[in-house]
Point group: C2
Amino acid sequence: MTSPAYDLWYWPSIQGRGEFVRLFMAAAGIPYRDRARTDDAQALVEDMEAREKSGQFAPYAPPYLVEREMGFAIAQVAHILTWLTDKHDLDSGDPATDLHLIQLQLTITDIVAEVHDTHHPVASGLYFDDQKDAAKRAAKAFREERIPKYFDHFEAALSVKPGPFMVGATWSHVDTSLFQLVEGLRYAFPLRMAAITDDYPKLMACRDAVAEIEGVASYLDSEARIPFNEDGIFRHYEELDAA
Amino acid sequence: MTSPAYDLWYWPSIQGRGEFVRLFMAAAGIPYRDRARTDDAQALVEDMEAREKSGQFAPYAPPYLVEREMGFAIAQVAHILTWLTDKHDLDSGDPATDLHLIQLQLTITDIVAEVHDTHHPVASGLYFDDQKDAAKRAAKAFREERIPKYFDHFEAALSVKPGPFMVGATWSHVDTSLFQLVEGLRYAFPLRMAAITDDYPKLMACRDAVAEIEGVASYLDSEARIPFNEDGIFRHYEELDAA
Protein backbone atom coordinates (compact mmCIF):
# COMPACT_ATOMS: atom_id res chain seq x y z
CA MET A 1 0.00 0.00 0.00
CA THR A 2 1.35 3.40 -0.95
CA SER A 3 1.33 6.06 1.73
CA PRO A 4 -1.11 8.96 1.29
CA ALA A 5 -0.04 11.74 -1.04
CA TYR A 6 -0.69 14.51 1.49
CA ASP A 7 0.32 15.54 4.98
CA LEU A 8 -2.00 17.91 6.86
CA TRP A 9 -0.29 20.02 9.52
CA TYR A 10 -2.32 21.69 12.24
CA TRP A 11 -2.50 22.16 16.01
CA PRO A 12 -3.20 18.79 17.69
CA SER A 13 -5.62 19.86 20.43
CA ILE A 14 -8.36 21.66 18.53
CA GLN A 15 -10.61 21.32 15.47
CA GLY A 16 -9.86 24.90 14.52
CA ARG A 17 -9.35 25.85 10.89
CA GLY A 18 -7.84 22.43 10.17
CA GLU A 19 -11.28 20.89 10.49
CA PHE A 20 -12.51 22.56 7.31
CA VAL A 21 -9.78 20.71 5.42
CA ARG A 22 -10.51 17.40 7.21
CA LEU A 23 -14.20 17.51 6.34
CA PHE A 24 -13.44 18.20 2.70
CA MET A 25 -10.92 15.34 2.57
CA ALA A 26 -13.46 13.04 4.26
CA ALA A 27 -16.22 13.94 1.80
CA ALA A 28 -13.91 13.51 -1.19
CA GLY A 29 -12.37 10.30 0.12
CA ILE A 30 -8.87 11.70 -0.33
CA PRO A 31 -6.41 9.87 1.94
CA TYR A 32 -3.93 11.96 3.92
CA ARG A 33 -1.69 11.71 6.91
CA ASP A 34 -3.01 13.92 9.70
CA ARG A 35 0.13 15.17 11.42
CA ALA A 36 -2.01 16.66 14.19
CA ARG A 37 -2.77 13.05 15.18
CA THR A 38 0.75 11.65 14.78
CA ASP A 39 2.89 14.60 15.92
CA ASP A 40 2.77 17.11 18.76
CA ALA A 41 2.55 20.91 18.68
CA GLN A 42 6.31 21.22 18.99
CA ALA A 43 6.77 19.24 15.78
CA LEU A 44 4.39 21.63 14.02
CA VAL A 45 6.28 24.67 15.30
CA GLU A 46 9.57 23.15 14.15
CA ASP A 47 8.16 22.27 10.73
CA MET A 48 6.89 25.82 10.29
CA GLU A 49 10.18 27.36 11.38
CA ALA A 50 12.13 25.12 9.03
CA ARG A 51 9.87 26.17 6.15
CA GLU A 52 10.19 29.87 6.95
CA LYS A 53 14.00 29.51 7.01
CA SER A 54 14.16 27.31 3.90
CA GLY A 55 14.57 30.13 1.45
CA GLN A 56 11.32 29.06 -0.21
CA PHE A 57 7.82 30.50 0.08
CA ALA A 58 6.33 29.24 3.34
CA PRO A 59 2.97 29.20 5.16
CA TYR A 60 2.25 32.07 7.53
CA ALA A 61 0.16 29.83 9.78
CA PRO A 62 -1.41 26.36 9.89
CA PRO A 63 -3.36 24.60 8.58
CA TYR A 64 -1.22 23.74 5.60
CA LEU A 65 -1.20 20.76 3.34
CA VAL A 66 2.01 19.24 2.00
CA GLU A 67 2.03 17.34 -1.25
CA ARG A 68 4.64 14.83 -0.20
CA GLU A 69 6.11 13.86 -3.55
CA MET A 70 6.67 17.45 -4.64
CA GLY A 71 7.34 18.86 -1.17
CA PHE A 72 4.89 21.60 -2.09
CA ALA A 73 3.12 23.20 0.89
CA ILE A 74 -0.05 25.24 0.62
CA ALA A 75 -1.78 27.25 3.37
CA GLN A 76 -5.02 29.18 3.91
CA VAL A 77 -8.19 27.09 4.15
CA ALA A 78 -10.02 28.59 1.17
CA HIS A 79 -6.90 28.25 -0.95
CA ILE A 80 -6.27 24.63 0.09
CA LEU A 81 -9.86 23.67 -0.71
CA THR A 82 -9.85 25.46 -4.06
CA TRP A 83 -6.58 23.81 -5.00
CA LEU A 84 -7.79 20.33 -4.04
CA THR A 85 -11.09 20.89 -5.85
CA ASP A 86 -9.24 21.67 -9.04
CA LYS A 87 -6.65 18.93 -8.64
CA HIS A 88 -9.16 16.17 -7.92
CA ASP A 89 -11.70 17.25 -10.54
CA LEU A 90 -14.32 18.12 -7.94
CA ASP A 91 -15.34 21.35 -9.63
CA SER A 92 -18.92 22.08 -10.69
CA GLY A 93 -18.20 21.90 -14.40
CA ASP A 94 -19.10 25.55 -14.85
CA PRO A 95 -16.22 28.03 -14.42
CA ALA A 96 -18.44 30.94 -13.34
CA THR A 97 -20.06 28.77 -10.68
CA ASP A 98 -16.65 27.62 -9.46
CA LEU A 99 -15.64 31.26 -9.04
CA HIS A 100 -18.77 31.94 -7.01
CA LEU A 101 -17.98 28.94 -4.83
CA ILE A 102 -14.53 30.36 -4.06
CA GLN A 103 -16.15 33.70 -3.21
CA LEU A 104 -18.56 31.95 -0.84
CA GLN A 105 -15.70 30.03 0.77
CA LEU A 106 -13.86 33.32 1.37
CA THR A 107 -17.00 34.74 2.95
CA ILE A 108 -17.01 31.71 5.28
CA THR A 109 -13.37 32.54 6.09
CA ASP A 110 -14.54 36.01 7.11
CA ILE A 111 -17.27 34.85 9.46
CA VAL A 112 -14.94 32.25 11.01
CA ALA A 113 -12.48 35.05 11.86
CA GLU A 114 -15.37 37.00 13.39
CA VAL A 115 -16.35 33.97 15.50
CA HIS A 116 -12.82 33.86 16.90
CA ASP A 117 -13.01 37.57 17.69
CA THR A 118 -16.15 37.13 19.80
CA HIS A 119 -14.06 35.52 22.54
CA HIS A 120 -10.80 37.32 21.72
CA PRO A 121 -11.87 40.78 20.54
CA VAL A 122 -8.86 42.62 21.98
CA ALA A 123 -5.94 40.30 21.26
CA SER A 124 -5.29 36.63 20.47
CA GLY A 125 -2.38 36.74 22.91
CA LEU A 126 -4.51 37.71 25.93
CA TYR A 127 -6.58 35.32 28.03
CA PHE A 128 -10.35 35.31 27.65
CA ASP A 129 -10.74 36.48 31.26
CA ASP A 130 -8.66 39.56 30.47
CA GLN A 131 -11.02 40.64 27.69
CA LYS A 132 -14.34 39.25 28.92
CA ASP A 133 -16.17 42.58 29.06
CA ALA A 134 -15.26 43.41 25.46
CA ALA A 135 -16.11 39.81 24.51
CA LYS A 136 -19.62 40.12 25.91
CA ARG A 137 -20.26 43.22 23.81
CA ALA A 138 -18.62 41.66 20.75
CA ALA A 139 -20.64 38.46 21.10
CA LYS A 140 -23.89 40.38 21.40
CA ALA A 141 -23.22 42.24 18.16
CA PHE A 142 -22.11 39.02 16.49
CA ARG A 143 -25.21 37.10 17.60
CA GLU A 144 -27.70 39.82 16.79
CA GLU A 145 -26.25 41.46 13.69
CA ARG A 146 -23.52 39.39 12.09
CA ILE A 147 -25.00 35.87 12.19
CA PRO A 148 -28.26 36.99 10.51
CA LYS A 149 -26.39 39.04 7.90
CA TYR A 150 -24.15 36.13 6.91
CA PHE A 151 -26.90 33.52 7.20
CA ASP A 152 -29.27 35.57 5.05
CA HIS A 153 -26.54 35.64 2.43
CA PHE A 154 -25.90 31.89 2.59
CA GLU A 155 -29.63 31.15 2.54
CA ALA A 156 -30.03 33.31 -0.58
CA ALA A 157 -27.07 31.58 -2.23
CA LEU A 158 -28.55 28.16 -1.39
CA SER A 159 -31.74 29.28 -3.16
CA VAL A 160 -29.99 29.75 -6.51
CA LYS A 161 -29.96 26.02 -7.32
CA PRO A 162 -32.41 23.28 -6.25
CA GLY A 163 -30.28 22.00 -3.33
CA PRO A 164 -29.63 20.46 -0.93
CA PHE A 165 -26.09 21.62 -1.74
CA MET A 166 -24.88 24.97 -3.03
CA VAL A 167 -24.79 23.80 -6.64
CA GLY A 168 -27.58 21.23 -6.42
CA ALA A 169 -27.29 17.50 -5.91
CA THR A 170 -23.49 17.40 -5.69
CA TRP A 171 -21.53 18.70 -2.69
CA SER A 172 -18.68 21.20 -3.00
CA HIS A 173 -16.09 22.66 -0.64
CA VAL A 174 -18.60 25.34 0.32
CA ASP A 175 -21.04 22.77 1.69
CA THR A 176 -18.55 20.98 3.93
CA SER A 177 -17.46 24.37 5.28
CA LEU A 178 -21.05 25.49 5.88
CA PHE A 179 -21.60 22.24 7.80
CA GLN A 180 -18.66 23.05 10.08
CA LEU A 181 -19.81 26.65 10.49
CA VAL A 182 -23.28 25.56 11.59
CA GLU A 183 -21.88 22.85 13.89
CA GLY A 184 -19.42 25.26 15.45
CA LEU A 185 -22.00 27.98 15.98
CA ARG A 186 -24.40 25.46 17.52
CA TYR A 187 -21.65 24.52 19.96
CA ALA A 188 -20.67 28.11 20.75
CA PHE A 189 -24.07 29.79 20.73
CA PRO A 190 -26.70 27.07 21.37
CA LEU A 191 -29.40 29.47 22.58
CA ARG A 192 -28.99 31.84 19.66
CA MET A 193 -28.82 29.05 17.09
CA ALA A 194 -31.91 27.34 18.47
CA ALA A 195 -33.77 30.63 18.21
CA ILE A 196 -32.96 31.23 14.54
CA THR A 197 -32.66 27.73 13.04
CA ASP A 198 -36.18 27.80 11.58
CA ASP A 199 -35.36 30.98 9.68
CA TYR A 200 -32.72 29.17 7.61
CA PRO A 201 -34.23 25.94 6.27
CA LYS A 202 -31.93 25.65 3.25
CA LEU A 203 -28.79 26.20 5.32
CA MET A 204 -29.89 23.57 7.84
CA ALA A 205 -30.83 21.15 5.04
CA CYS A 206 -27.39 21.66 3.54
CA ARG A 207 -25.80 20.93 6.93
CA ASP A 208 -27.89 17.74 7.24
CA ALA A 209 -27.05 16.61 3.72
CA VAL A 210 -23.31 17.04 4.38
CA ALA A 211 -23.60 14.93 7.55
CA GLU A 212 -24.96 12.13 5.35
CA ILE A 213 -22.12 12.11 2.82
CA GLU A 214 -20.61 8.68 3.33
CA GLY A 215 -17.05 9.80 4.06
CA VAL A 216 -18.23 12.60 6.32
CA ALA A 217 -20.57 10.29 8.29
CA SER A 218 -17.69 7.85 8.90
CA TYR A 219 -15.36 10.64 9.89
CA LEU A 220 -17.83 12.22 12.32
CA ASP A 221 -18.34 8.82 13.90
CA SER A 222 -14.60 8.25 14.36
CA GLU A 223 -12.14 9.25 17.05
CA ALA A 224 -10.35 11.41 14.50
CA ARG A 225 -13.11 14.00 14.99
CA ILE A 226 -12.05 15.49 18.31
CA PRO A 227 -14.74 17.40 20.25
CA PHE A 228 -15.12 21.17 20.17
CA ASN A 229 -13.40 22.74 23.18
CA GLU A 230 -12.50 26.10 24.71
CA ASP A 231 -9.10 26.29 23.02
CA GLY A 232 -10.52 26.34 19.49
CA ILE A 233 -12.25 28.89 17.30
CA PHE A 234 -15.78 27.90 18.29
CA ARG A 235 -15.90 28.16 22.09
CA HIS A 236 -18.86 27.89 24.40
CA TYR A 237 -18.93 30.46 27.18
CA GLU A 238 -22.37 30.80 28.76
CA GLU A 239 -21.94 34.53 29.22
CA LEU A 240 -21.50 35.03 25.46
CA ASP A 241 -24.71 33.28 24.41
CA ALA A 242 -28.36 34.38 24.48
CA ALA A 243 -31.39 33.74 22.31
CA MET B 1 -13.72 54.25 -28.18
CA THR B 2 -15.22 51.22 -26.49
CA SER B 3 -16.19 51.60 -22.85
CA PRO B 4 -14.11 49.74 -20.26
CA ALA B 5 -14.90 46.06 -19.78
CA TYR B 6 -15.22 46.33 -16.01
CA ASP B 7 -17.20 48.21 -13.38
CA LEU B 8 -15.71 48.43 -9.90
CA TRP B 9 -18.25 48.93 -7.14
CA TYR B 10 -17.19 50.18 -3.73
CA TRP B 11 -18.01 52.79 -1.09
CA PRO B 12 -17.36 56.30 -2.48
CA SER B 13 -15.85 58.00 0.57
CA ILE B 14 -12.94 55.72 1.50
CA GLN B 15 -9.99 53.89 -0.03
CA GLY B 16 -10.88 50.77 1.97
CA ARG B 17 -10.60 47.35 0.39
CA GLY B 18 -11.46 48.79 -3.02
CA GLU B 19 -8.05 50.43 -3.15
CA PHE B 20 -6.27 47.08 -3.47
CA VAL B 21 -8.20 46.51 -6.68
CA ARG B 22 -7.56 50.04 -7.95
CA LEU B 23 -3.80 49.76 -7.47
CA PHE B 24 -3.71 46.44 -9.31
CA MET B 25 -5.76 47.86 -12.20
CA ALA B 26 -3.47 50.90 -12.32
CA ALA B 27 -0.31 48.78 -12.41
CA ALA B 28 -1.75 46.50 -15.09
CA GLY B 29 -3.17 49.34 -17.13
CA ILE B 30 -6.59 47.69 -17.21
CA PRO B 31 -9.28 50.30 -17.87
CA TYR B 32 -12.40 50.18 -15.71
CA ARG B 33 -15.28 52.36 -14.67
CA ASP B 34 -14.96 53.26 -11.00
CA ARG B 35 -18.56 53.40 -9.81
CA ALA B 36 -17.37 54.83 -6.48
CA ARG B 37 -16.47 57.96 -8.46
CA THR B 38 -19.58 58.12 -10.63
CA ASP B 39 -22.27 56.87 -8.25
CA ASP B 40 -23.16 57.45 -4.61
CA ALA B 41 -23.37 55.03 -1.69
CA GLN B 42 -27.10 54.61 -2.20
CA ALA B 43 -26.52 53.36 -5.74
CA LEU B 44 -24.08 50.77 -4.38
CA VAL B 45 -26.57 49.60 -1.76
CA GLU B 46 -29.27 49.31 -4.43
CA ASP B 47 -26.97 47.41 -6.79
CA MET B 48 -26.05 44.96 -4.03
CA GLU B 49 -29.67 44.45 -3.02
CA ALA B 50 -30.69 43.84 -6.61
CA ARG B 51 -27.93 41.25 -6.99
CA GLU B 52 -28.87 39.46 -3.74
CA LYS B 53 -32.48 39.28 -4.93
CA SER B 54 -31.62 38.30 -8.50
CA GLY B 55 -31.74 34.57 -7.90
CA GLN B 56 -28.07 34.38 -8.91
CA PHE B 57 -24.95 34.12 -6.77
CA ALA B 58 -24.18 37.59 -5.40
CA PRO B 59 -21.40 39.40 -3.52
CA TYR B 60 -21.65 39.47 0.26
CA ALA B 61 -19.93 42.85 0.41
CA PRO B 62 -18.03 45.32 -1.77
CA PRO B 63 -15.60 45.68 -3.43
CA TYR B 64 -16.84 43.70 -6.38
CA LEU B 65 -15.95 43.84 -10.01
CA VAL B 66 -18.51 43.40 -12.77
CA GLU B 67 -17.49 42.11 -16.15
CA ARG B 68 -19.96 44.18 -18.10
CA GLU B 69 -20.42 42.06 -21.20
CA MET B 70 -21.12 38.88 -19.23
CA GLY B 71 -22.80 40.57 -16.27
CA PHE B 72 -20.54 38.43 -14.11
CA ALA B 73 -19.79 39.90 -10.67
CA ILE B 74 -16.90 38.78 -8.50
CA ALA B 75 -16.15 39.82 -4.90
CA GLN B 76 -13.41 39.40 -2.28
CA VAL B 77 -10.18 41.28 -2.96
CA ALA B 78 -7.84 38.27 -3.13
CA HIS B 79 -10.29 36.51 -5.43
CA ILE B 80 -10.72 39.51 -7.73
CA LEU B 81 -6.95 39.95 -8.05
CA THR B 82 -6.34 36.25 -8.68
CA TRP B 83 -9.04 36.18 -11.30
CA LEU B 84 -7.72 39.26 -13.09
CA THR B 85 -4.16 37.93 -12.94
CA ASP B 86 -5.23 34.77 -14.68
CA LYS B 87 -7.50 36.49 -17.18
CA HIS B 88 -4.94 39.11 -18.23
CA ASP B 89 -1.97 36.72 -18.35
CA LEU B 90 -0.20 38.46 -15.49
CA ASP B 91 0.82 35.23 -13.77
CA SER B 92 4.44 34.41 -12.96
CA GLY B 93 4.67 31.59 -15.49
CA ASP B 94 5.24 29.04 -12.73
CA PRO B 95 2.05 27.45 -11.30
CA ALA B 96 3.57 26.71 -7.87
CA THR B 97 4.74 30.32 -7.54
CA ASP B 98 1.29 31.56 -8.55
CA LEU B 99 -0.23 29.45 -5.77
CA HIS B 100 2.20 30.95 -3.27
CA LEU B 101 1.25 34.42 -4.45
CA ILE B 102 -2.42 33.70 -3.78
CA GLN B 103 -1.49 32.43 -0.32
CA LEU B 104 0.44 35.63 0.36
CA GLN B 105 -2.48 37.73 -0.86
CA LEU B 106 -4.79 35.89 1.55
CA THR B 107 -2.33 36.59 4.36
CA ILE B 108 -2.53 40.28 3.44
CA THR B 109 -6.34 39.93 3.64
CA ASP B 110 -5.88 38.65 7.20
CA ILE B 111 -3.70 41.52 8.39
CA VAL B 112 -6.02 44.06 6.75
CA ALA B 113 -8.92 42.64 8.79
CA GLU B 114 -6.76 42.92 11.90
CA VAL B 115 -5.98 46.56 11.09
CA HIS B 116 -9.70 47.29 10.97
CA ASP B 117 -10.17 45.56 14.30
CA THR B 118 -7.62 47.82 16.01
CA HIS B 119 -10.13 50.69 15.90
CA HIS B 120 -13.25 48.52 15.95
CA PRO B 121 -12.36 45.56 18.19
CA VAL B 122 -15.83 45.14 19.68
CA ALA B 123 -18.16 45.70 16.75
CA SER B 124 -18.15 47.35 13.31
CA GLY B 125 -21.57 48.78 14.12
CA LEU B 126 -20.42 50.75 17.19
CA TYR B 127 -18.66 54.12 17.15
CA PHE B 128 -14.93 54.28 17.84
CA ASP B 129 -15.60 56.34 20.98
CA ASP B 130 -17.78 53.54 22.34
CA GLN B 131 -14.94 51.03 22.10
CA LYS B 132 -11.90 53.24 22.59
CA ASP B 133 -10.55 51.46 25.68
CA ALA B 134 -10.64 48.09 23.96
CA ALA B 135 -9.16 49.73 20.84
CA LYS B 136 -6.17 51.02 22.81
CA ARG B 137 -5.40 47.54 24.07
CA ALA B 138 -6.03 45.98 20.66
CA ALA B 139 -3.79 48.53 18.91
CA LYS B 140 -0.97 47.94 21.38
CA ALA B 141 -1.03 44.19 20.70
CA PHE B 142 -1.29 44.81 16.97
CA ARG B 143 1.64 47.26 16.93
CA GLU B 144 3.92 45.20 19.15
CA GLU B 145 3.10 41.62 18.19
CA ARG B 146 1.13 41.39 14.98
CA ILE B 147 2.93 43.88 12.73
CA PRO B 148 6.35 42.27 13.39
CA LYS B 149 4.96 38.76 12.94
CA TYR B 150 3.40 39.59 9.57
CA PHE B 151 6.28 41.80 8.42
CA ASP B 152 8.86 39.12 9.31
CA HIS B 153 6.87 36.75 7.11
CA PHE B 154 6.66 39.18 4.19
CA GLU B 155 10.35 40.05 4.51
CA ALA B 156 11.25 36.35 4.41
CA ALA B 157 9.03 35.83 1.37
CA LEU B 158 10.65 38.82 -0.37
CA SER B 159 14.03 37.13 0.22
CA VAL B 160 13.11 34.06 -1.84
CA LYS B 161 13.73 35.81 -5.18
CA PRO B 162 16.13 38.66 -6.03
CA GLY B 163 13.53 41.45 -5.79
CA PRO B 164 12.48 44.16 -5.71
CA PHE B 165 9.15 42.41 -6.20
CA MET B 166 7.91 39.14 -4.70
CA VAL B 167 8.85 37.11 -7.76
CA GLY B 168 11.79 39.25 -8.89
CA ALA B 169 11.82 41.97 -11.51
CA THR B 170 8.11 41.73 -12.41
CA TRP B 171 5.34 42.97 -10.13
CA SER B 172 2.39 40.81 -9.10
CA HIS B 173 -0.88 41.37 -7.23
CA VAL B 174 0.99 40.71 -3.99
CA ASP B 175 3.30 43.67 -4.52
CA THR B 176 0.56 46.22 -5.18
CA SER B 177 -1.23 44.99 -2.05
CA LEU B 178 1.95 45.16 0.06
CA PHE B 179 2.37 48.74 -1.15
CA GLN B 180 -1.09 49.64 0.10
CA LEU B 181 -0.54 47.80 3.37
CA VAL B 182 2.65 49.75 4.07
CA GLU B 183 1.06 53.06 3.01
CA GLY B 184 -1.98 52.42 5.17
CA LEU B 185 0.05 51.42 8.21
CA ARG B 186 2.26 54.48 7.80
CA TYR B 187 -0.87 56.61 7.84
CA ALA B 188 -2.44 54.83 10.80
CA PHE B 189 0.63 54.15 12.93
CA PRO B 190 3.33 56.67 11.89
CA LEU B 191 5.34 56.40 15.11
CA ARG B 192 5.40 52.61 15.08
CA MET B 193 6.19 52.39 11.37
CA ALA B 194 9.04 54.92 11.66
CA ALA B 195 10.50 52.84 14.48
CA ILE B 196 10.56 49.56 12.55
CA THR B 197 11.06 50.61 8.93
CA ASP B 198 14.80 49.86 8.97
CA ASP B 199 14.10 46.28 10.06
CA TYR B 200 12.29 45.54 6.80
CA PRO B 201 14.47 46.75 3.90
CA LYS B 202 13.02 44.34 1.32
CA LEU B 203 9.43 45.21 2.18
CA MET B 204 10.18 48.92 1.95
CA ALA B 205 12.07 48.42 -1.33
CA CYS B 206 9.06 46.56 -2.69
CA ARG B 207 6.80 49.43 -1.62
CA ASP B 208 9.10 51.93 -3.36
CA ALA B 209 9.29 49.85 -6.53
CA VAL B 210 5.49 49.64 -6.74
CA ALA B 211 5.24 53.43 -6.39
CA GLU B 212 7.42 53.71 -9.51
CA ILE B 213 5.33 51.43 -11.72
CA GLU B 214 4.15 53.83 -14.44
CA GLY B 215 0.42 53.22 -14.02
CA VAL B 216 0.65 53.33 -10.24
CA ALA B 217 2.67 56.56 -10.24
CA SER B 218 0.06 58.23 -12.48
CA TYR B 219 -2.76 56.95 -10.33
CA LEU B 220 -1.18 58.10 -7.06
CA ASP B 221 -0.69 61.53 -8.59
CA SER B 222 -4.32 61.79 -9.69
CA GLU B 223 -7.49 62.92 -7.95
CA ALA B 224 -8.82 59.39 -8.25
CA ARG B 225 -6.59 58.46 -5.29
CA ILE B 226 -8.62 59.91 -2.44
CA PRO B 227 -6.73 60.50 0.85
CA PHE B 228 -6.81 58.10 3.78
CA ASN B 229 -9.40 59.20 6.34
CA GLU B 230 -11.05 58.15 9.59
CA ASP B 231 -13.91 56.31 7.88
CA GLY B 232 -11.67 53.75 6.18
CA ILE B 233 -9.77 50.66 7.26
CA PHE B 234 -6.51 52.48 7.97
CA ARG B 235 -7.36 55.24 10.45
CA HIS B 236 -5.06 57.53 12.35
CA TYR B 237 -6.00 58.03 15.98
CA GLU B 238 -3.14 59.42 18.05
CA GLU B 239 -4.09 57.37 21.07
CA LEU B 240 -3.65 54.13 19.10
CA ASP B 241 -0.08 54.82 17.96
CA ALA B 242 3.27 54.61 19.73
CA ALA B 243 6.81 53.74 18.70
